[in-house]
């Protein structure tokens, strides 16, 4: 996909208009040149080489491409890269801290919330956004929040358990540090 980022124009008569986009991705400011038609998911995957964001369908249904845009989950295959200009994007690669995993990541591993791993990044980011907003969700609230992300291997029971596990862990940690409540 080099032509979409660097090699334009190929010839004078084929000058493809490109735009410069600055996005803060996982805390780091990245500036790239893109064609307007480039999808955000493709910019993240092929331009920024963050391949943890997957593309599963074409119609904004599966949610494998979910990233956080200014903290809220969006389907990055249903946004243009140019639209992310000036915004903050968090991908699965930005979930973990320097040394430790995010509780949602730990939860998915501990409760066997994944099998093939393809829907997992999207699921985890949606879950993170849910817990940021609602630290103590019910099972139904988790199911509702995840209903824009499809999974084929795991079914949803263990995914829901993973999110509840993470919620509990996060609450416990907040309790220890005296934060929250």
């Amino acid at each position: 996909m080099t032509s979409l980022f660097e090699e334009v124009p190929r010839a004078e008569e084929d000058a493809v208009p490109v735009r410069t986009v600055s996005v803060t991705v996982n805390g780091e400011r990245r500036t790239v040149k893109v064609e307007p038609r480039l999808l955000l998911a493709h910019m993240i995957r092929h331009g920024l080489k963050l391949t943890g964001t997957h593309t599963g369908c074409d119609t904004s249904n599966c949610g494998a491409c979910t990233v956080l845009l200014d903290g809220r989950p969006v389907k990055s295959c249903t946004m243009l890269a140019v639209q992310a200009d000036g915004h903050e994007v968090t991908t699965v690669e930005g979930l973990a801290g320097q040394s430790e995993l995010h509780p949602v990541q730990e939860g998915f591993k501990d409760e066997h919330g994944l099998q093939c791993g393809f829907c997992t990044p999207g699921m985890m980011l949606t879950a993170k956004a849910l817990l940021d907003e609602n630290p103590d969700p019910t099972e139904d609230e988790v199911r509702w929040a995840l209903s824009g992300n499809l999974c084929r291997c795991t079914g949803y029971q263990n995914i829901v358990k993973s999110v509840l596990w993470a919620a509990k862990k996060q609450r416990a940690a907040a309790g220890e540090t005296g934060a929250g409540e």
């Binding site: 493809v16 208009p17 735009r19 064609e35 307007p36 038609r37 999808l39 074409d58 119609t59 904004s60 249904n61 949610g63 979910t66 845009l69 809220r72 989950p73 969006v74 389907k75 295959c77 249903t78 946004m79 243009l80 140019v82 639209q83 200009d85 949606t126 509702w144 929040a145 995840l146 209903s147 824009g148 992300n149």
Partner: protein, 291 residues
Amino acid sequence: MYPSRFGYESPRALDEAIELLTRGQGEAKILAGGQSLIPMLKLRFASPEMLVDINNLPGLSHLTVDPDGSLRVGALCRHSQLERAAALAGPFPTIAAAAPLVADPIVRNRGTLVGSICHADPQGDWAAVAIALGASVVAQGPSGRRRIPVADFVSGPFQNVLAYDEVAVEVVFPAAAGTAAGGYLKLERRVGDFATAGVAVGLERSGSVVTRAGMALTGVGGATIDASGAAQALVGGELTADRIARAAEGAAAAAKPRSDHRGSAAYKRHIVHTFVTRILTRVADDVERAA
């Protein structure tokens, strides 16, 4: 799936956007939430020459109740804002009922009510709600603003009456005179599915007497169907079983469904009847309980 090439502008002022649309001569398309448009670009069902991205326009994200009680929903107000606005449940119960049923939770973070009405999908949710509540689109063009009732705004499947140089800046839902009541029900096979059939009902009542009734249907015709005619059976009296039955029958008759893999025409008509009955019966129960 990769969109074909298009030009792209993201104006910072409404006038600038209108100027770009004017220059586009009908070949420019507005990009707001993009949750219907971008999939269509990817499937190459749509190939506009130019996209005018209005996401950076100031002052369009509002969800405001005016002093007169009417609700203004800006062109950049996302579905999720409506879903989270707990205060809507009293004055606008139909909106509150519909908001969580639009698409899926992630799409709701991006998609907009105004964009959805402009998109005029015959299986969409918001046009039905807006018609049932007598809402209007406020459109701004080079020569100023105009208000278009949503019932007149949707002109066919995926068609609206906006001129190419106009931007739908907001949708205004009028305040209920008296107490607002109503609801929204749709049959979908899973979250994010298009409606097999859906019914929006907006009522105003004074005590137990219905003073205004609007109704619209989705998924059962080439475009959203205004069934307010059938709802007139409810006006001027209490929500009796007889009136409810007449409204339900009227709505079923107004539906123009086609048989497809979501169900037969007869079934969809039956669902309209059932849902109208259910919404109205629930309202009647609430009224009785309140009394």
